[in-house]
Symmetry: D2
Subunit: 457 residues, 4 copies
């Protein structure tokens, strides 16, 4: 099908620093060389926001002629867009929010590439990774001094039913009424609803300096393209840095219903919060949904208690069908975070105190050998079990929707997930219920064909 | 049922001018004397926004203890609220937008009362009425210099089905993308949807100085209470002044589906636009709705052509199922308005050139004698026929939902509407279709019992 | 000598409200009829700021072709200037501050004329005069809510020697460092220095919303034309209203050395502060000057003590050669004013509590009969003596520089000032010292020929 | 003599980015280790602004107990000041502009040290030096996109007579009226006057976003301490980088009368402008002064023509006693610069096109051997002769006021300056006239004892 496209040259409306001659030429080289494919893919994701699809490749196929070039100009840089999706434009002029996001993409891709190239980012040790995360966020102007803790991260599925989406809007509305800002993975569904709700509430409260932060990474941006309410976009290098960015900048987290990706996020977060060094650190965490979704969280809750012990539940509250109470819990949590940071002379804008072990920071490659090597037994510290469970979910996400994972499944069949029998049974039941609740979305509309097999279950 | 209420003292956050000692004491007197009932009623409407009800009396009955007092303070005035509806507050603090609307209510009620009392408003001749409308709008800071024509008035029903409401949001979104501002009657339904849609679009366009103007009057504010996205509220003295305010400040009008009230507005506007003096004045007018609502506008269109002649249709476009085209039509119309005003050295902020005859400006009292006296024949200039048709619809609105009208019907039976047979038949058919489309909403859920009888039909 | 002049049409850059058609046409009429001469004179004063001259007539003679017209335009009004002094323009474009002042002149002249014409200002009783003063100031946006007491009025001569001028700058600098705003009579000399000093200090303190208020009246504006640092100009109807505006809006007053006009101001203020109703009201008052000017204040101090009693000195401090201490005294006084207003629930922006008797509010016509009728004896309440002494000084000012006074002197010889012998001797000595200190400036450079004769001295 | 001092902890009011834990601890180390002396010296210069003295050491001796520490805090960093000069405070609170300058000092010292340490600044080749200059300026937020050429650099003496100082204010005033921004070396005299004048003019033009940029370096900051009108301070690593910063960021230069340091600046600039690669680049340059100073520029002009050829005068205009014309020349020059940059797609914020050879970029150490090695003959390209003449003046400045130079003179006697006889004679005459005009200021008030001897003269 022929798509309407637009050719345009756009200038940054804000936020793009002046560049040196070196940087501009590096940027042009980049966009002609290795980084160009990455830039093109991310830019297309920004330009096609609003089109929901799990298939990143499909987008590139729909706009095969799309091209992007960086031009040097007298007052800074410009972007030349060729055959760009028309939906990003209104009467031939690009939507201003999309303009901002495009330049954010350029900014982060070049920044990360040049820092890595210059040897300034060292991903070998835990502290260096945290500093790299810090510097990428700072460069993206995400870290602001003089703001009291008020940033609520919202996690949840990018393709959820209407009533769950409306619920995320209702919660966002209540958060917005309480002058809280929103941070999400910046895609559709549970990542968009809270921002829309908060936008309306912020308007009613006449709040002008609102922050709608989107944190993404190149592997997911196509599937979860940022909607332009996001006014602060940052592209982290990979999943693990993205997750670290969420927990170090957010002051509290709300988890809405989602699929296996949401389960991965929950395991990641609890794996960190269960670390002995972190037990005293306040971290408001609520699982939230409409009453129709109560089964989802019950299943997660059961599984978490079984695998990680009953007291894991002290780390979260489940609040069903009560957006105001959900927001109230967060607002009260903000005060605890504030006092804790003040007492510990810690920054408000970055949670330095949180201990994140190296295994939570380094990429997990989802192949059969790595999945087989996971230790899914309770014969180990539970934060390590949480880490390996997180990896198991990560593999399923990859097998479902990521190019590398899909190819691996096509060649070698489903991932074999093995471990302690009781855990396996619970895991299998939970995954089956995700399937039956249609939480395993795929590009095609065919019945879900699992990419995993739980052994010992 | 016991409602949660809150007691609070609130200070104006913005927009309230400094008052003289005289004015403050007049205000306090007012709130103790004649104006107090009016102030209490309007304030309660603002505080209960979001509760949809056609029954204004119901609201006062639900909050019988609600009280409001004006207090003089060192830096200005304060409002004391007793037993105020809790929904206007978040954790005990009033929503800032509601705060602004409350002080706007105080401002307008006192301003109009004191100007009338001082003999400065003269409602006897047409020009003086227009100047009073101008001064009330100016005092409310609605009239802004140095803004190009961009204010779109949206009319339509306050209680419309979900899909029509969503459509008004979609249109508002497209208007917002084009940097257009919104003006409505400031209630729910078609008056709220465009503002919500525009709010999201304005956020995406990073537009900060948005105007969401609500124009209401004491008789309707309870049924159409302003939602706090409205950031510029003005209370006109009566229906006719309110309608004049719409057509003199708005640069174009979109009519969404509604009921008999919407028909009244259409007749009012066309009655003016058909006046010989106004034929050369551009005034963008679109009837807009989703494809399911096409029947509604077809019926209106037929009736208008029959009663006022086919060429009345030159004054409006019907655009179905195309929010972007609707907004585009308005954006293009803005350019025509701009050029016309420039050529005629007319103000952008007030449409002085529009001729509005005295019969469109003075209140129509909806009683049996007045209804019987209407001339609904084509044996007269058609803008005068439009004026009397407008009055007929006005009477039906009153008979349906206004206190005075309901009482008249209870005492004397339905209004008898008579006139030229062909017109009467068309009128009867249209009203019947409104009933069957559930566009004759009433406080109770009982089947609609018409308050009118069309003779000669 | 031929002056360079400029023709230009200018639009208001800010602060000019939208006008109704009525108002614009009234304004045009005005500029063609009675008000035109007044408008032309005041506009010329604004346009020639910076040219120091005591001779208002001289200015009109230097620009005999100068003309000003009000034009109605699509978006508001414009001013057409013909043969306007070139110094108000930079490369053909009017200085923005002068633009603002010109439109302030138009605003006030029209406002006062229309209010008086409409019978809304009643100058017969004390309270009504105060309300008129309030309304003129409010219309000029001088009264701002939500600002803590911080407005320092600076009085003093408009033609003072260099070292005294530098001292007023130094005091203004110290006031500015303490975040205090400045209000003066808006001419040169002691009225300009404090604003220049404060401007530099406000820049160093990075203070953006500074207020430099100038309060003038038609009779004096030509001699004391407002310099464009003034960003809030208001033209009061006459001297007495101007003086009342100073004491009701200012939160404290600094008096720098001046001539007989400054003495008039001092007598006016002390006459009010000595009123029994005002004794408990805090009103910071400092007489300030460099050490070379110490004689000036000693003489004033002696005269005041003699005429009004030693305890009059409780109402002021004399601070010599210490700008920082002068500013500190004001800053501390602000706190007292703040607490007093809070305790009395009085406005910060207008000193309602101050009792000003009718004799301080009504114009004094400086002719021989009125001067002869003054009661300059201590056989009366001292605030009444202060009032008559104020009038005596007022007459000398008029005899020196005002048209009406000069003519009276030419016809009938010097004013005869008579009263209690001891007072007369002190008065004569003080006036003689003003002459010897060259504080009796005149248009011509001839030796000063006194316009008064003190009898019984 | 005992000085009043203050102890205080201050937080940055603006402009200080968030810092990482690494950076804060490096900063603390720095302030305890090698950088601490530098930080302390520069901070003291900022705190003592307004005290004119050529003797940097004197300042440290007056405040021997002054101490500064960097503290890490929950929301960023703080500075602890011990025994700080009281003049930087108003009633115990630091002047906000001084606060900003202090944090700018911290920012630049740490930035340069860490970049050099990390090997990111390479001072070996010309292009790398230019990039380092760019990055320091960018880090200091001096480079702004989207501003048309409007930055006027003002050079001239820091200790000039009153009438020359008043003239620099008058020129700054005319520049400010024309919406031009000011950049100077940020000390007193000709570096302060233009900023003060512009501040008043900007206030009259109601211009809010003014830039008063000060560019200094550690060796001179004590003698030319930044006055807090400077709202954008940057500390370059040495004289040559500072000079490069002036010519790459400024869009035009005005040279006021000064001493031998000003002559050094003139030679530096002409040396660059005479380079064959730069002949086509517009660079507005005016030598400006009151009529009393005409001799100064005549002498400079003669010397320049003799040494560099008559056509050197094409590169500058001498405008005497006409501040408005001086500003007009700059305003017209801005338009030429704008068009040139547009045509060459060069940035407005940084003059990349200007060729600056390596000998103008590297520090010249002022010792006897280096001075003796200078080639002051016309047997070479004239831009190279200009470079060596610049070094000769630089040596005299050092011999007059810099520690290293003074010591060298004490040990080895005056610098011997030799070269082509005609040049030497002219040089000697010019230097003698500087002495007789009291333009060779020294800490002590003793008669000037030359630190140089011109041979062959």
């Amino acid at each position: 099908m022929a798509k309407t496209t637009v050719n345009a040259q756009i200038s940054p409306v804000a936020g793009m620093d002046v560049l040196s001659r070196n940087e501009v030429s590096r940027l042009r080289d980049a966009t002609q060389g290795g980084l160009h494919a990455l830039l093109r893919r991310c830019a297309l994701a920004v330009l096609t926001q609003g089109i929901v699809s799990d298939d990143a490749r499909g987008m590139l196929e729909r706009y095969p002629d799309f091209e992007i070039q960086v031009l040097q100009q007298d007052r800074g840089i410009k972007l030349e867009l060729i055959h760009a999706p028309a939906q990003a434009f209104v009467e031939g002029r690009i939507i201003r929010g999309i303009n901002e996001l495009l330049f954010a993409v350029v900014r982060d891709i070049v920044y990360i590439a040049t820092q890595v190239e210059a040897g300034r980012f060292n991903f070998d040790d835990s502290l260096s990774i945290t500093h790299a995360v810090f510097e990428i966020l700072r460069n993206a102007r995400v870290l602001k001094p003089n703001i009291e803790p008020n940033l609520i991260v919202c996690w949840g599925g990018h393709s959820i039913p209407r009533h769950e989406y409306e619920y995320t809007k209702a919660v966002g509305y209540q958060l917005g009424l309480r002058a809280l800002d929103i941070c999400t993975g910046c895609g559709p569904g549970a990542m968009k609803g809270p921002m829309k709700g908060a936008t309306i509430a912020h308007a009613k409260q006449r709040r002008k300096s609102n922050r709608y932060i989107g944190i993404t990474e190149p592997g997911i941006i196509a599937a979860e393209s940022p909607n332009p309410i996001v006014n602060n976009l940052v592209i982290m290098p990979d999943i693990e840095k993205r997750l670290e960015a969420f927990v170090r900048t957010g002051h509290g987290i709300i988890v809405f219903p989602g699929g296996v990706g949401t389960a991965e996020e929950i395991l990641y977060l609890l794996g960190i919060l269960l670390h002995p060094d972190n037990v005293h650190i306040p971290f408001p965490l609520v699982f939230a949904g409409p009453k129709e979704s109560v089964a989802y969280f019950e299943q997660i809750d059961q599984f978490l208690r079984l695998a990680l012990g009953d007291d894991v539940a002290n780390r979260y509250r489940i609040i069903v069908d009560d957006p105001a109470e959900t927001a109230r819990a967060m607002a009260q949590g903000m005060e605890k975070v504030r006092l804790f940071r003040l007492n510990n002379k810690d920054a408000f804008f970055f949670n330095w105190a949180l201990k994140i072990e190296h295994e939570f920071q380094t990429p997990f490659r989802p192949n059969h050998a790595n999945v087989a090597a996971l230790n899914l037994n309770r014969n180990q510290p539970r934060h390590l079990l949480a880490a390996d469970l997180r990896r198991a979910f990560s593999a399923i996400v990859a097998g479902n929707v990521k190019e590398e994972g899909i190819r691996a499944i096509e060649q070698h069949g489903p991932f074999e997930i093995d471990g302690e029998a009781e855990i396996m049974r619970a895991l299998d039941a939970m995954l089956a219920s995700f399937v039956s609740q249609h939480r395993m979305k795929l590009p095609s509309s065919k019945a879900y064909q699992p990419c995993y097999r739980v052994k010992s279950a």
